[in-house]
Symmetry: none
Subunit: 377 residues, 2 copies
DNA sequence: GGGGCGCCTGAATCGGCAG
DNA sequence: TCTGCCGATTCAGGCGCCC
């Protein structure tokens, strides 16, 4: 038997004597390729399926340049029904290949994740957590019509309710300031030198995932030597991280250009013991506290009076965290600048509230909230 | 007609002449009660439906004390199918009652939110955002078998794809350090004095939501005077916050004990009485000035030369307010876009005229006309 | 060489009104 | 209901150029 191959005995395999091709990329359709793999043979699955974005026309930035949106054919589905059929088909094919104690990770956005999650449950996967990937640097909402879409959702599920799955609780806790790892992860987008480029300097894959994300997943839910399957291999982040962390991978991908990029990338990946790369992103500076939080948390009441140090200017606090000077409404910073006739102002260190007759800087209130925030991680 | 009631004319109402009972709690089954309300009559819906938690057995803390888990009868569903049927029924009933431009908020956890989201999409609601409520003080995972479940998910959706919904973008930004509000919100659990207790000091409702959460929702997606419907009213957080923020509420709840707690609580809630503190901060939209007015008022002469900032492009002003670049004629916007090879352009902030040898933006001329317009009333 | 400034970009269901 | 047109709208971070 060739090195790198692994024979798995399984009566339920669709292909007698099917072989798991370790640390390779299978070219072809995801579902067909899955059906040729041996049953109950992989320890972990990471899947980044098409999101079915259903984008309309073009989106322009405020400077009138164009957003390079995902418009690839592989993200086109005729209807929700068709997307559901596709989802159930690949989930069922994946489930067959999973060992009884294996777990599955799927990533998505609000466009598709509810359909994926519901299908998972219908197929008797058992959801363990939903995880929120909070992006430190998301694309803004240019039109000001919605909240900045600043996160994606991962579902972590075991093959069934009785699975005794791998969860490296102590390792995660040790790497997380000795507190339990939470379900919300702050990780930057994949940009800069990590982002694969083609010969002409354009991004090689439209939705390349950051290695830090895959790193945390593999460290949390697999052991060294485990086999990690990625049925939508794309630019090969799963393979590169698996190699670095001493796990085996099996990738499936139908686009030859993506495969070529992934092969090159994985060949360059060096197994490292340096856990620093995967340590949770550290706080660079003090977290930003919106003034609205002060009102939400009732540290100040709507209508409260803010004054400057000399008591020359008086502004009133509104319910939404803006303040009002005369009949002009704006943020504590904007109104502070206006009051002083300056181009800018830090409202936190300019405005005071009345604390039993004594003027106190609102920065004191920010300090209270920051203290709580630090406790929350 | 009694004060506090509002008659809404609607041919599609199931009950002719149905009346919306403002600022009251309707006792009874959610779906039946919804069907008695007038169609297209509410501006915003907040729904906190049963979570279908499926907890097997009891959960013990490390010190062997018992966790007071949600095990109420209203959270028992025999199967996913039954939960889906229930979900679709209340969503459809809610949709009928929503105005065309109304939006819906639903909160849930991984146990139920995927089913709710998929059902929403099936019923042609249009998802605007999914929002993550990050809890600063979540309950730890006592068994160390999963990630700390530190968030819940909200879905924000409009009645349909074409809805022109309310989103107080400027107000949210002013209260958020002058940056866009993101889709991940850090808000503490409802604890301490805000948490309602019964006569014996036990929590009055198992899943009471924090007022800060409802506050942000109402400030983001409703206007003062709007009608907010909560079909699973529970301890009445929606009603208390609506009253404080000058919105009307309609609650539906079948548990008499919850209703009693909610009534008492809402009676004690003090509205923000100063309307100025409530009106959403908006950017005043400036009146539209046609470029032709600039020529009509002889601020520029026909034949005058317009240039871009670098002087690379030169266009000539025509009598009708169009301009000419080479032999191409069009609006200041179209020609500006053409000159730059961009899909669009705001001509007012691109073209300059010659003011005694110095290039000046034509936006200055618009400002003059706007000033006159304002003076004229 | 270093600091500062400007450019580029990221899974996006991104307008409203008049005619 | 559809078309055309005006004109409003962005945050964090990496990288490269320039002084």
């Amino acid at each position: 038997m060739s090195p790198g191959l692994k024979r798995v005995e399984s009566r339920s395999s669709l292909v007698a004597g099917a072989v798991l091709p370790l640390d390779t990329i299978i070219e072809g359709d995801c579902i067909a390729a899955l059906q040729r793999l041996p049953a109950a043979s992989v320890d972990l699955v990471f899947a980044d399926p098409p999101y079915n974005l259903q984008l309309g026309g073009d989106l322009q930035r405020p400077d009138n340049s164009m957003v390079d949106a995902v418009d690839d054919d592989w993200d086109k589905f005729a209807s929700l029904r068709e997307y559901d059929d596709f989802t159930r088909a690949w989930l069922a094919a994946v489930k067959r290949v999973m060992k009884p104690d294996a777990t599955l990770w799927v990533i998505g956005s609000y466009h598709n994740i509810f359909r994926v999650g519901a299908s998972l449950q219908d197929l008797d996967f058992w959801i363990l957590n939903d995880i929120v990937w909070r992006k430190s640097n998301p694309m803004p909402n240019f039109r000001g019509k919605r909240f900045t879409n600043a996160h994606e959702t991962l579902i972590w599920a075991s093959r069934d309710q009785r699975s005794r799955y791998t969860f490296n609780y102590e390792a995660l806790k040790a790497g997380n300031e000795d507190v339990q790892m939470r379900s919300d992860w702050l990780i930057p987008l994949c940009t800069g030198s990590e982002r694969l480029k083609d010969d002409e300097g354009r991004k090689a894959h439209p939705t390349q995932k950051p290695e830090a994300l895959l790193g945390r997943i593999l460290l949390a839910a697999s052991k060294p030597g485990d086999v990690v399957l990625d049925p939508f291999f794309g630019s090969g982040t799963t393979g590169a991280v698996a190699k670095k962390l001493g796990r085996h991978f099996v990738g499936i991908e139908r686009d030859q250009a993506y495969i070529a990029h992934a092969r090159e990338r994985i060949a360059l990946a060096a197994p490292v013991d340096d856990a620093a790369m995967l340590a949770p992103a550290e706080k660079r500076s003090e977290p930003r506290i919106p003034f609205a939080n002060v009102i939400e948390r009732q540290l100040l009441q709507p209508g409260a009076i803010l004054t400057d140090a000399n008591g020359r200017h008086q502004a009133r606090v509104r319910v939404d965290g803006s303040i009002m000077l005369g009949d002009i409404v704006g943020s504590i910073h904007k109104i502070g600048a206006l009051a002083q006739g300056l181009p800018a102002c830090n409202g936190w260190t300019y405005w005071h509230y009345d604390d039993g007759g004594k003027p106190v800087l609102i920065d004191e209130l920010r300090a209270i909230l920051r203290k709580e925030l630090a406790a929350a991680g």
